[in-house]
Symmetry: C2
Subunit: 201 residues, 2 copies
Amino acid sequence: MTVSDGRSFIEEGSPANDFFVVTEGRVKLFTLLPDGRRQITGFAEGGDFLGLAASRSYAFGAEALGTVTLCRFPHAGMSRLTHRFPNLEHRLREEASRELILMQARMTLLGRKTARERVATFLIERARLLHGPDTEQMAETIELDLPMPRSDIADYLGLTIETVSRIFSAFKKEGLINIRAITHISLLAPERISLIAEGAE
Amino acid sequence: MTVSDGRSFIEEGSPANDFFVVTEGRVKLFTLLPDGRRQITGFAEGGDFLGLAASRSYAFGAEALGTVTLCRFPHAGMSRLTHRFPNLEHRLREEASRELILMQARMTLLGRKTARERVATFLIERARLLHGPDTEQMAETIELDLPMPRSDIADYLGLTIETVSRIFSAFKKEGLINIRAITHISLLAPERISLIAEGAE
DNA sequence: CGGATCTTTGATAGAGGTCAAGTGCCGTGG
DNA sequence: CCACGGCACTTGACCTCTATCAAAGATCCG
């Protein structure tokens, strides 16, 4: 299954019949308020599961960020699969657990961190996606590619586009980052950004 | 295992050896920032699972809200259990999924809702805990007991104590609720509160 | 009762949102 | 190859909501 840029393939509230695995590309997951306010609850990449939270209807919408390829599994067939591969059930639970831990951190970000801390956290999160969770290499410059527009970053961090933009500019002026292109940012002082992210500066 | 009021029984970051089920009473789960800012990520009640997000160390702290009794299961013994009761694994995943859905809603609350909307959402959430998710009975008055202090409500909603207090007062003045006692609130117009919660007013 | 703690209320300040121009980037077409 | 238009991003001015700081009640418990 292939979905092209900007195309929505899960409608929030629609009946949840399938379960997806992202094979190529990126996806944004979000929930909406009636007046259009949007919270992006996560970005999914190759290998990520989607629709784990199996209920009657989807609790979120999903939209392609660039071109995406997915595997679609009908829920109906899942019970047959888990029966055949008992380990699968365990694997799915692990995946759900991992997601739960991430969400707890994001709740702290949304509920308690300042705008600076949120943006710093976002940058570090992206850096770790590339170079693993190790703190090593944090001393050097890290090149980052942000495939999503500012509006997605804002909705992910619970901020406005303007605030995100202003903070990127501030970080640049402080010598923490370099903005090579709109989608390409260099972290010049990852260690210091990491400190800001934890609320220590 | 019994824990008395205010006692902490899971330390954030400590090695995650056990898995808990709340049998009696209530528990608050939270994460902390280095400077003491706190985000309460959820309240657990009788029947709820704790420590599902099984990783090396606990991603959250837990503290008793009143006296609590718990069952403690060492992780080590879990694999034996799930082997004996294959259904358990499925049950755990369902529980994790349910939690994931709740967390998505909370992320939207923390990232995108106003203070009024957050407090209204909290009240409706509590009401549903008593009377089920049905919208019926929403027409009448609902009596609520809030077992947690304002500081917990504030840290749950990503607000300050003062803001929570002011909004309770405002709701009272608007005839939406009645504050019988600090811990006892009557929802006089559940339907209208529900609308506020969704951002429709 | 009396003191500690929690909650409410008031006054003020500040972080981030809103509104409104720019600015830069990129694709299209002349 | 350059001009133009559109769109995303940035920047600025201003405002609002919520946090902060400070008392003044409530409530609880010895």
